[in-house]
């Protein structure tokens, strides 16, 4: 069997099994999708406070931005550190470590399967949003949609790699997920979930744009809602972050595996 066919078979088998597994948890996934409505809460706060206009937003672009932020979040949400920590603590990781496949592929497949399971729920919430905000309805152009999809994929990759770095720390500290909380706070404030980055003071914006967080929500949401400027630069920065984080994950993993004690197994 050729190497590429072998890889395709692995991807297919992993996705099929993980999708079947996620369907078993469809109600839980629907609730997770529903719990991601923070951008809509922020939209109503912005609208009610009347602050939007003072930051140069009209009601329509703000609605579209927060709906886009909701969708980007739905398809870039990552939970690898929690699964990994549980598997490492309960010894479930051990059989994966002695198979000729990097265990992170399993977690990646589980995330993709979860996103596919989540898709109908996210679409249903979007439909409901438009039902109550008919004037916000818009259909992005094909190019706009494809670029938004690609930047969301990159946003997911950045989030997955960032969490994988923390997950790798489980090899040293069994409760590495608590470190994820430290990451969540800057993510929440600097990603664009609570407010578009363009509403930040210019000096703060400059600093924020040096971190990976705006490229995890704000950038893809801007493309989808038609607010994006400097799309090319945005993609370059996303690729730079992926290129920085990927080797860090590999190196940390290699060092961590040497420290693994196969607890609970």
């Amino acid at each position: 069997m050729s190497y590429s066919k072998l890889k395709i078979n692995v991807i297919k088998a992993l996705f099929n099994s993980q999708y079947a597994n996620m369907l078993e948890y469809r109600v839980e996934i629907a609730l997770w999708a529903l719990s991601g409505v923070l951008p809509f809460i922020m939209l109503s706060i912005w609208k009610e406070s009347g602050a939007a206009t003072s930051y140069g937003f009209d009601g329509l672009s703000l609605s579209r931005y927060f709906l886009s932020a909701f969708l980007v979040r739905q398809f870039s949400v990552v939970w690898v550190v929690f699964s990994f920590e549980e598997d490492a603590l309960l010894g479930k990781l051990s059989p994966y470590l002695i198979q000729p496949l990097h265990p992170l592929w399993r977690y990646l497949a589980a995330h993709i399967a979860e996103q596919v399971t989540r898709l109908p729920f996210a679409l249903l919430i979007t439909f409901t949003f438009f039902l109550f905000n008919t004037d916000s309805f818009w259909i992005p152009s094909l190019i706009q949609f494809l670029l938004a999809w690609l930047s969301t994929l990159f946003a997911f990759s950045i989030a997955f790699l960032l969490q994988s770095i923390i997950a790798s720390l489980c090899f040293w500290n069994e409760k590495a997920s608590s470190l994820e909380r430290l990451l969540f706070t800057p993510y929440l404030f600097l990603s664009g979930l609570l407010a578009p980055i363009s509403s930040f003071p210019p000096n703060i914006q400059k600093i924020v744009l040096l971190t990976p967080f705006p490229y995890m929500i704000n950038f893809p949401a801007n493309i989808l809602s038609g607010l994006a400027e400097n799309i090319f630069i945005g993609f370059i920065i996303q690729i730079i972050w992926i290129s920085i984080l990927f080797p860090v994950v590999i190196l940390l993993w290699k060092a961590g595996v040497r420290n693994y004690t196969a607890m609970g197994a």
Binding site: N21, L97, I98
Partner: protein, 329 residues
């Protein structure tokens, strides 16, 4: 690879860094403020070789270091010092060619996806190990016949009994036809029938494929049914490596005879043959020196009208317990 051994272990040691904690609030505070870590030597300078096709039993009390050695042999954890070669590979490097040739089965630990039928997990394993669809189908069919598995492969794992789960775990672990099997308590928690089925499967698998098997078990029946050679370990040190029979011979020079006679008898008549353990009605159990066994049996058969006679070794658990206390042969 050194000489012909498929498993070659030299001066293997493993030290874990741990920290103790006193109970209560004071203990917690002390543990938080001035934690003292210290090294615990789980395995100390262990050396042994295993030839291809051998089934070797690993004996030792809880915490003796058996599982730690198994984990090092399959590359799951790194040794502190010493060298290991399994099928010519250094397990610590976890090369794909090495991983495709081994398997580790841990009793009561599962790799199958809990909410899905085993078939889903088997398809993933088949893809990971590069088996074609037809190869995987044939292999699943072959192993499921040996393991007496059928419709269980299509039911969610969570709905299976412990015995059925263990058998499906074995199937998943052996799907890629590994030539070296590391089995850590493969019959743990199973009932007597399920234990016997797993044992006969392992024996048949070894006979058919020539695979090398290293297993740990708390059930001596597993060891006596499968292993002609045993490694005994105590507090991380290997103190016996040899045949199970010679271990039994060295530990106990006696065998036990259980005799059923046609008529009632006077126990005193048996005192010259050996030590009487029990006697009831027409049954008597006596302990006899191994060297005297043939002579004594023929004398008893000449003198008494015997209906049945059974020769057995003293319970192996008893011998092993004695061995661990002595820590020498």
């Amino acid at each position: 690879m050194k000489d012909r051994a498929i498993i070659d272990v030299e001066q293997l040691s493993k030290t874990y860094q741990i920290s103790d904690k006193d109970p209560g609030f004071k203990g917690t505070l002390k543990h938080f403020l001035s934690r003292k870590t210290f090294g615990v030597e789980a395995v100390k300078n262990v050396s042994f070789k295993i030839q291809p096709g051998e089934i070797v039993g690993f004996l030792g009390a809880n915490g003796a270091g058996k599982t730690t050695i198994l984990k090092m042999l399959c590359g799951l954890i790194y040794p502190s010092s010493g060298s290991i070669y399994v099928d010519g590979f250094n397990p610590a490097k976890r090369q794909n060619d090495f991983l495709k040739n081994i398997t580790l089965v841990m009793g009561q630990k599962q790799q199958l996806i809990w909410d899905l039928p085993p078939m889903d997990s088997l398809q993933v394993n088949a893809a990971i190990y590069g088996l074609s669809e037809s190869e995987a189908t044939n292999r699943i069919k072959e192993l499921s016949i040996m393991l007496e598995l059928g419709e269980e492969l299509y039911r969610p794992v969570r709905k299976l009994s412990l015995g059925q789960r263990m058998k499906t775990e074995l199937l998943a672990s052996l799907l890629h036809k590994p030539s070296v099997l590391f089995l850590d308590e493969p019959t743990l928690g199973l009932d007597v029938n399920a234990q016997a089925r797993v044992r006969s499967f392992l024996s048949e698998y070894n006979r058919k494929t020539g695979a090398t098997i290293l297993l740990t078990s708390h059930y001596m029946a597993d060891i006596t049914a499968l292993c002609s050679r045993v490694l005994c370990i105590h507090k991380g040190e290997l103190f016996y490596d040899g045949g199970l029979n010679s271990l039994t011979n060295k530990l106990t020079p006696y065998r036990e005879l259980r005799i059923e006679l046609k008529d009632q008898f006077n126990p005193k008549e048996f005192e010259n043959y050996g030590i009487i353990k029990t006697n009831t009605d027409r049954f008597i159990e006596i302990r006899i020196l191994r060297t005297e066994l043939p002579k004594v049996i023929s004398r008893i058969l000449e003198r008494f009208e015997v209906i049945d006679i059974e020769i057995k070794d003293p319970p192996i658990e008893e011998l092993i317990g004695k061995l661990f206390n002595q820590r020498r042969i």
